[in-house]
Symmetry: C2
Subunit: 315 residues, 2 copies
């Protein structure tokens, strides 16, 4: 933990006392230097979070002390107790949800929202297939799909406790949940005969788990890669392109947010997602940890202490 | 060779005496059963060719004896001396080009044309990258690109005689030609600094040759797979989707032709391609073989006698 000198609050600045900020895998990747865009070092970690406005510059008109705000677009440095930045860097959110939801609504839930709406037109009764279904994006995809009456086929790793993981996902609204090994069969269509063939596939794993998504997709379907948790590449047969006419694409929230149209849309989408949380239509597992216990939270986020819920720092 | 009984010429039929028909790799794949659409057996091979109208049905209005015609859309059974089919199965072509060009203009040149026009908007000065550049589609891509002032980066196999192959492609208009091993270097951008980064990649090989296309493509570029000569799949890293934003798609002429809009366009495109041949802007290597020597031509087409030009049967 580092103490920084106080900064002056300029006329358009907000001074925000942070309330909560998560440790996302992408925060760790950024620190590891995996991402092509890097802040100048030394830098402060954290990319999203929620805070309370404690003081405003002399010409600030749209915010007042006590408001809850999130950095929008998300930006570097949410793992600190106070942040001073111009008012146009912030988006006010309703105080009707627990702060840990406002703190985490951008990176994972917004990604899930974009994945479901930007690549194919999904109509009620359609279906999608995803791997890495227990991830936070995966959990959000399941719940948004159910809200839109879209069926979800979910693939999870083979592991001890996979039956418990399947039950959890079914409770969130998953229609079908399989481990990878269950889908390594010749006639996967028989297994999935109750669900329409998915037109959209979501891949955050790569390797065999992405081959399964391609196998389950219908003719002309699209697979969107937004992560690579297995660290293995995506492999696709020639015939999957020529005869099955599949399309393979990628999604990166940071690039998506770089468009001003998307930046405007994203505030509406975030408000919508928070209203779903408020109405109990949308939830995900989190563990709140005091900022003083940052080291423990980081070990948990790095997977050093087994499978753990999303770690949320409280300031 | 099989003798079939004569058929009656109905009022809307043309009786066409075949002049020339090629042996394409896709003809062999169809016989092997690789393709998902199969004619009922026993079937006659051959998918394109040119013939002369020798007799017309009583209500045929748009054709007369002596016309040269090609099956349009291409269809099964061009490896025979006479074909009787309804007039709407045929497209009249100008007699201003050698028959072997009219016989081969659909499958490979039309594929090249579609690959260059259907996936990205190419402007003069842009560039494309392709593997399998010595293939017939590859040769057509090089010449069409040059006609449209688009630069081409071409990848060929490492093999004895690769320098000669490079020279041939350069004479057709190739801007850059490399063997795969020449491109297996860390900083491929330095090697290609004279050419703008390609927005379109064409893959008919798979395996390492498709990885090289992905490596050379610019951010946001599209790779279209239309063949898999190495019988190896396409492999792409997670970051090529997320950070490089590449799109991977496929093209299959037979599916493209199934749309009525495309069928109408294709006749205009074929006439345009034949006019390019007539004006000496478009050529490719072919070897004419008598139908009686079908066995030799087939062995050559199957690669049993080393690298050979396209085999064209003359009837």
């Amino acid at each position: 933990m580092v103490h920084l000198p106080p900064v002056e609050i300029k006329e358009k600045d907000l001074c925000v006392k942070m309330l909560a900020a998560p440790i996302n895998p992408s925060d760790i990747n950024r620190i590891q230097g995996v991402y092509p865009i890097r802040p100048p070092a030394p830098a402060i970690g954290g990319y999203e979070g929620v805070g309370e406005v404690v003081s405003v510059g002399s010409s600030v008109e749209n915010f007042t002390t006590g408001d809850w705000v999130i950095p929008s677009p998300p930006s570097f440095g949410t793992w600190q107790t106070y942040i001073v930045k111009q008012e146009d860097s912030w988006h006010r959110v309703a105080k009707t949800v627990p702060p840990e939801y406002a703190a985490t609504i951008t990176v994972n839930p917004l990604t899930a929202y974009c994945l479901l709406k930007d690549f194919t037109k999904l109509n009620p009764g359609d279906s999608i297939v995803q791997n890495g279904a227990t991830s936070m994006v995966g959990q959000c995809v399941i719940q948004l799909a159910r809200l839109w009456d879209v069926r979800s086929v979910n693939i999870i790793r083979d592991r001890p406790g996979s039956e418990e993981a399947k039950d959890k996902l079914r409770k969130l609204g998953a229609d079908e949940v399989y481990t990878e090994s269950q889908l390594d069969v010749k006639n996967v269509k028989n297994l999935l005969s109750d669900v329409p063939e998915p037109s959209l596939g979501l891949n955050c794993v790569g390797g065999n788990a992405s081959s399964l998504v391609l196998k389950i997709l219908r003719k002309g379907g699209t697979m969107v890669t937004y992560g690579g948790m297995s660290k293995k590449p995506v492999t696709a047969s020639t015939s999957s392109f020529i005869f099955k006419d599949l399309v393979l694409r990628g999604f990166w929230l940071q690039k998506w947010l770089a468009s001003s149209d998307n930046m405007r849309d994203c505030k509406v989408m975030i408000d919508h997602l928070l209203s779903l949380v408020r109405d109990n239509h949308f939830k995900y597992e989190m563990e709140l940890v005091s900022f003083d216990d940052f080291n423990i939270a980081l070990d948990k986020a790095l997977g050093k202490l087994g499978s753990q819920p999303k770690q949320i720092l409280r300031f």
